[in-house]
C-alpha cells in the first residue's frame, strides 16, 4: 500500500482498484476495518460483527482476485443496516431490526440485496463478492429519524458525538462518515437514507420504488420501503447500487427491467456538455415549498452555495411548485403506520422473537410479548395504524390519504415537465442533540417534511454533502429525479463532487 494512505481512507472505487492491483489484500482491508470498528464501538454504529465469517469471505475474495475471476467489487467491505436479514448459518450474524422483539434472531436466509452484494443467491448466479463486516444500528423497525429508537442504544454522529446521526439508517450513516466501512446499505421509507446521509455528511441514494428487491428487508411500510446505499461519493453509490439492484422474482413489486450499470450511466457525458460545464442543459427545479421561511438560515445558506456551484457547472435553476408538500406529513403518517400495524402482526411470540414469560393464556402471550418486545415509537405507530384501518375510519383516513398520495405523485409529474431534477433541503435543520426531540414524536414527524413527498411518489432521491451549517454540522442537498432516472441524479451529484470536496471531508478524530 502506498505510504500515507490508510486502508480505511479507501472508498469503494479506490478499494476495488487497490485490490485488483494487489496493492492490498481483502484480508488486510477486512482486518483493518474490523479493528477500527472495535476501536470506535462508542459510536454505536455496529450492532454485530462476525470476524471469522468476514475473514473467510475476504480469503475467498483474495483467492478469486488471484485467479482473476473476481467481480468488480470482490473483497470490498460492506456492512448492512440490520433491517436486512442475514443467513445466520453462513454469516453468524443475528437480524434484529433494532428491536428487542428480534434480539438474537437467526434468519435461515439472506435478503436478496445481501446475497447479491455477497456470495450471490442460491441457484441464481454469483454475487459481487463484497465482504460483509457486520450489521448496523438503526431505529427499531426503521421507525425514526434519529436512531434514538434502537433497542440497542443510539448511534452517534461522528461530527459531534452528542448529536444524532439521523435515522432510521443512523448506523449506516455514522459508519460511512467515520470511515469504518466504505459503503453501507440502508432502507428509506420516508427519508431513512437521505436524512441520515445529510446529517452525517455522506452521500446516500434511495432508488425508484421497485429497483431493489424488498425480499429479506424486514417490512415497515411495504408500499414505501426501498433499499439503497450510503457511501462517500456518488461514484461509490453507483457502483454498489448496480450490484444490489435489479429484478427479483421473490418480490411481486420488483420492477421488471434489465440490470442497470449506474456507474457507466453516471459517467456518460450529457449531450451538449462542455469543458467545465458537465451539467449543461440540466434544468434543476426548486420547489418554492422546499424553501420556506422556517428553513434554518445555515441550511439555506449552504444550499444556495451548492446550487450556485451547480449553476457554474451548467445547470439552470427553475422555479417549480409542490403545493401539497405539507400534506405529505399526515398522508405519510397515516399510510406508513397502517401498513406497519399489519406488517408487525407476525411478531406474536409464537414462531420466533420475544415471548413473555409464563403467559396465563394466548391473549396474555400476545399482549405481553408484543408490549415487552416493541418500543414506544413502534407501539405508537401500531396504534395509529390499527386505528385508521379500524371499522368506520378507513375511508376518512387511509383511503383519503391514498388519494392524496396520487395527487402528490401527480404534482411531481407536473414539475418534471419543467425540470429534470428537483433540488432542495433534506431536512429543515442540521442534526440535533441526542434526546432533544425524544419527548415530542409529532415534532420529529414534522422534520421529515422534505423527504416524505418523494417517498410517497416512489421517486428516486439522493442526499449529497453540500457544506456545513451551525456547529460545523453537515448540510445535505436533496436531489429528486423522475422514475428510474437514477442516472441523472448520480450525474448531478458526481459533477458537484468533482467540483467540491465536502464529501471528502473527514470528521475530526476519524
Amino acid at each position: 500500500m502506498s505510504a500515507g494512505t490508510e486502508l480505511h481512507a479507501l472508498g469503494v472505487a479506490d478499494a476495488a482498484r487497490a485490490l485488483r492491483e494487489r496493492r492490498c489484500s481483502a484480508v488486510e482491508l477486512t482486518q483493518h476495518l474490523l479493528a477500527r470498528a472495535a476501536a470506535h464501538a462508542g459510536l454505536g454504529a455496529f450492532l454485530a460483527v462476525n470476524e471469522a465469517a468476514a475473514l473467510a469471505q475476504a480469503r475467498a475474495a483474495d483467492a478469486r482476485l488471484a485467479r482473476g475471476d473476481a467481480g468488480p467489487l470482490a473483497g470490498v467491505p460492506v456492512a448492512h443496516k440490520d433491517i436486512f436479514v442475514t443467513d445466520f448459518a453462513t454469516s453468524g450474524l443475528p437480524s434484529t431490526a433494532g428491536s428487542r422483539m428480534l434480539a438474537g434472531y437467526r434468519s435461515p436466509f439472506d435478503a436478496t440485496v445481501v446475497a447479491r452484494l455477497g456470495d450471490g443467491e442460491p441457484g441464481r448466479g454469483a454475487g459481487a463478492g463484497m465482504v460483509t463486516l457486520g450489521k448496523l444500528n438503526c431505529d427499531e423497525f426503521a421507525m425514526g429519524s434519529a436512531n434514538e429508537n434502537s433497542a440497542f442504544g443510539p448511534a452517534r454522529n461522528p461530527w459531534d458525538a452528542s448529536r444524532v446521526p439521523g435515522g432510521s439508517s443512523g448506523g449506516s450513516a455514522a459508519a460511512v462518515a467515520a470511515r469504518l466501512v466504505p459503503a453501507a446499505t440502508g432502507t428509506d421509507t420516508g427519508g431513512s437514507i437521505r436524512q441520515p446521509a445529510g446529517f452525517s455528511g455522506v452521500t446516500g441514494i434511495k432508488p425508484t420504488y421497485g429497483v431493489c428487491s424488498r425480499y429479506g428487508m424486514i417490512a415497515f411500510a411495504s408500499s414505501l420501503d426501498q433499499a439503497g446505499v450510503l457511501a462517500r461519493s456518488a461514484e461509490d453509490c453507483a457502483l454498489v447500487l448496480s450490484a444490489m439492484s435489479g429484478f427479483d422474482e421473490r418480490d411481486a413489486t420488483s420492477a421488471q427491467r434489465p440490470p442497470q450499470d449506474f456507474h457507466a450511466q453516471m459517467l456518460q457525458p450529457r449531450e451538449g456538455a462542455g469543458a467545465g460545464r458537465p451539467l449543461a442543459g440540466l434544468r434543476l427545479g426548486l420547489p418554492r415549498e422546499f424553501f420556506p421561511a422556517a428553513l434554518a438560515a445555515d441550511v439555506h445558506g449552504a444550499l444556495r452555495a451548492a446550487l450556485a456551484e451547480l449553476e457554474k457547472l451548467g445547470a439552470t435553476l427553475v422555479d417549480v411548485s409542490l403545493p401539497r408538500t405539507e400534506l405529505a406529513i399526515p398522508v405519510y403518517y397515516l399510510i406508513a403506520p397502517a401498513e406497519a400495524s399489519s406488517n408487525l402482526s407476525r411478531f406474536d411470540g409464537v414462531r420466533y422473537g420475544h415471548r413473555a414469560a409464563d403467559p396465563a393464556d394466548l391473549l396474555d402471550l400476545y399482549k405481553r410479548s408484543r408490549s415487552e418486545g416493541f418500543g414506544a415509537e413502534v407501539q405508537r405507530r401500531i396504534m395509529i395504524g390499527t386505528y385508521v384501518l379500524s371499522h368506520g375510519y378507513y375511508d376518512a383516513y387511509y383511503l383519503q390519504a391514498q388519494k392524496l398520495r396520487r395527487m402528490i405523485a401527480d404534482d411531481f409529474q407536473g414539475c418534471f415537465r419543467d425540470c429534470d431534477v428537483i433540488a432542495g433541503p433534506v431536512a429543515p435543520s442540521v442534526a440535533w442533540k441526542i434526546g432533544e426531540q425524544a419527548d415530542d414524536p409529532v415534532k420529529a414527524y414534522l422534520a421529515d417534511i422534505f423527504t416524505l413527498p418523494a417517498s410517497l411518489a416512489g421517486l428516486p432521491g439522493m442526499s449529497v454533502p453540500a457544506g456545513f451549517g451551525a456547529h460545523g454540522m453537515p448540510v445535505g442537498l436533496q436531489l429528486i429525479g423522475n422514475y428510474f432516472d437514477e442516472a441523472t441524479l448520480l450525474q448531478t451529484a458526481h459533477a458537484l463532487q468533482q467540483a467540491t470536496d465536502f464529501h471528502a471531508r473527514v470528521p475530526a478524530g476519524f
Binding site: V85, E249, A338, S342, S345, L362
Partner: protein, 492 residues
C-alpha cells in the same frame, strides 16, 4: 321456486360458504409443496411461516383454476381483482393476517344447478374468491399447550359463497354435492373431504313465511354431507325453540360436534367484527386478460349438464338416467365406453337401445356392487368391453337375465373375463334349438292337462304357469319368449 316445506311453521333460510382447496402442486403464495400428511412444519417454508423479510408471489395455477370455476358456473371472471389483508391474531395464522379477496373478488355471480327430488333447482352464487388456508391447531394435550402445524398454511383456497337460496337441509346437501361433483369434474379440487379439501360453512336462519330474513348463525367447517345435514337440522330446531320461547337469536359463529350432534358457539373469534381489511401492498391488482380466459375456456372439459343433455339428445336416455350417467367424469367415461362397445359408436335406433341397456346395468348391478363394496367407478373390476359383451349376449338371447347376473358375478369376482367362455363353462346358454324346445313343450302339455284346460278357459295365470314349467324343465336354459310363443301355437 316451489313453496318451501315449513318446519313448525317456520321457513328455513340457508346460505353456504364453501372452501375448496385448489389442486395446485405448490402453495398460493410460496413454492412450498401442498402435499397432505407430511411431518409437522416440514411443508411450511419461510414465506408460509411469515419469517421476517418474506414476501408473497401469486401462483398462476391457482388463478387458472379460479377462472375454470368461474366459466363453469357462468359467472363473471373479473378482469381486475384485488388481494386484501384480513387482519386478526390466531396461532394458525402466521402473518397475523390472511391474504384474501374482499371488495373485488376474481369470480363474481354465477349459479349451480342440481336435482332435488327429481326437480331441477338452481342456487345463485354471490362470488368466489382466492385466499390462503391457515395452519392447524392440534389440541391433544402437550402438557396444557396447543401444538401448531403450519403445513397447511398457504394452501390455495377458492371460497365459494352462495346466496341464501336454500330452504331445507336436504337442498343444502344437494347443492353441496353438486358443487363438490363440479370442482372434482373440473379437476380444480381433489374433493377429499376427510382431508379437509372441501369444507362448508352454513349460514342458517329461520323466519315466519313472508317475514324478512332472521338473524343468521354460522356453523363452521362441516366436512361431510351428513354433518352438514345434521348440523343444519339441529340448528334449525334450536333457533325455533328459542323464538318459541320468545328469545332473540344473536349472530354467532358455531362449531358442530358430530358425537353429540349439537352446535355450540366458538369462544375464539371475538374481534370478528373488525378485520381491518386493506389492499395488500405486497400484491398489485390481479389482472386477467380476455385472452387468458379464452385459453382456459378452450381447455375446459364438457360440463356435466351439457353432457347429460347430449346423452338425452343423442342416446335417447331419460333425464334421470342421463343425470346418473354424469354423476362424475369417471362414471360418464365408463358409460360411454360400455355403450360404444355394445353397438359401436354411430347413431340409429340401435344406439339408443344399447345406451339404455348400458345405463340400466350401470345404475343397477354395477352401482349396487360399487356401493356394497365402497368402490369408485374407476375401481370397477369388470372391463367395459366385458360388460358390453354380456349385454350383447342378453340381447341376442344367448343368456337369460338371471344367467347374465351369474356371469356378471363371475366377471366381478375375477373368475374370468371372456363372457362367452363363462356362459359355456357355467352352462348358462339358452336353448335355442326349436326341435328340443318343441319336445319339452309337448312333455309339459301332456303332464299338465289341468292347466291346459284352464288356459283354454281363458286363464292367463295358468298360461304363465305353463311357461314356468317349460323353463323349469329346461333348467332355465329355454328362452322364455320362444317357449311362450310355442305354447301359444300349440294351444292355439
Amino acid at each position: 321456486m316451489n313453496t318451501p316445506a315449513l318446519i313448525r311453521g317456520y321457513e328455513v333460510v340457508i346460505g353456504l360458504e364453501t372452501h375448496a382447496q385448489l389442486s395446485t402442486a405448490s402453495k398460493i403464495f410460496s413454492g412450498a409443496s401442498t402435499r397432505f400428511g407430511a411431518e409437522p412444519n416440514t411443508q411450511a417454508c419461510a414465506v408460509d411461516l411469515a419469517l421476517p423479510g418474506t414476501l408473497p408471489v401469486l401462483n398462476r395455477g391457482a388463478v387458472e383454476r379460479a377462472i375454470r370455476f368461474g366459466l363453469a358456473v357462468q359467472a363473471k371472471v373479473a378482469p381486475l381483482s384485488i388481494f386484501a389483508r384480513k387482519n386478526y391474531f390466531y396461532p394458525d395464522l402466521p402473518k397475523g393476517y390472511q391474504i384474501s379477496q374482499y371488495e373485488i373478488p376474481v369470480v363474481q355471480g354465477g349459479r349451480v344447478e342440481f336435482l332435488l327430488g327429481g326437480e331441477k333447482r338452481a342456487v345463485r352464487l354471490t362470488r368466489a374468491h382466492l385466499e390462503e388456508d391457515a395452519g392447524k391447531s392440534l389440541h391433544e394435550d402437550f402438557h396444557g399447550s396447543t401444538g401448531i402445524d403450519l403445513n397447511r398454511a398457504g394452501t390455495p383456497l377458492l371460497e365459494i359463497v352462495s346466496e341464501p337460496d336454500m330452504r331445507s337441509s336436504a337442498e343444502a346437501v344437494e347443492y353441496a354435492k353438486a358443487l363438490h361433483a363440479l370442482v372434482v369434474w373440473l379437476g380444480i379440487c381433489d374433493g377429499n373431504m376427510q382431508e379437509g379439501s372441501f369444507r362448508c360453512d352454513a349460514n342458517v336462519s329461520v323466519r315466519r313465511p313472508g317475514a324478512g330474513f332472521g338473524t343468521r348463525r354460522e356453523i363452521k367447517n362441516l366436512n361431510s354431507f351428513r354433518f352438514l345435514q345434521q348440523a343444519i337440522d339441529f340448528e334449525v330446531q334450536w333457533q325455533i325453540d328459542r323464538l318459541e320461547d320468545g328469545l332473540a337469536i344473536e349472530q354467532a359463529t358455531l362449531l358442530f360436534n358430530p358425537d353429540s350432534g349439537e352446535t355450540r358457539a366458538m369462544r375464539t373469534k371475538e374481534d370478528a367484527h373488525d378485520y381491518r381489511y386493506f389492499p395488500d401492498p405486497d400484491l398489485p391488482p390481479l389482472v386477467i386478460a380476455p385472452e387468458w380466459v379464452e385459453q382456459v375456456r378452450a381447455a375446459m372439459p364438457e360440463l356435466p349438464g351439457a353432457m347429460a343433455e347430449r346423452f338425452q339428445r343423442e342416446d335417447g336416455l331419460p333425464a334421470y338416467d342421463a343425470q346418473m350417467m354424469t354423476q362424475s367424469l369417471d362414471f360418464a367415461r365408463c358409460y360411454e365406453a360400455v355403450r360404444d362397445a355394445c353397438g359401436g359408436p354411430g347413431g340409429g335406433t340401435g344406439r339408443a337401445a344399447w345406451a339404455k341397456q348400458a345405463a340400466n346395468w350401470l345404475m343397477g348391478e354395477v352401482s349396487k356392487r360399487l356401493n356394497a363394496e365402497g368402490l369408485a367407478i374407476a375401481q370397477m373390476p369388470v372391463a367395459p368391453a366385458a360388460l358390453a359383451a354380456l349385454i350383447r349376449r342378453v340381447a341376442d338371447g344367448t343368456v337369460s337375465n338371471s344367467g347374465a347376473r351369474q356371469v356378471f358375478d363371475a366377471l366381478w369376482s375375477g373368475a374370468g373375463d371372456d363372457v362367452d367362455a363363462l356362459i359355456e363353462s357355467r352352462g348358462l346358454k339358452q336353448m335355442n334349438d326349436a326341435g328340443a324346445l318343441a319336445a319339452l313343450v309337448d312333455e309339459v302339455l301332456a303332464k299338465n292337462e289341468k292347466s291346459v284346460a284352464e288356459v283354454r278357459a281363458g286363464k292367463d295365470k295358468a298360461f304363465n304357469a305353463l311357461v314356468g314349467q317349460v323353463m323349469k324343465a329346461s333348467q332355465g336354459k329355454a328362452n322364455p319368449a320362444q317357449a311362450a310363443e310355442l305354447l301359444r301355437r300349440k294351444l292355439g
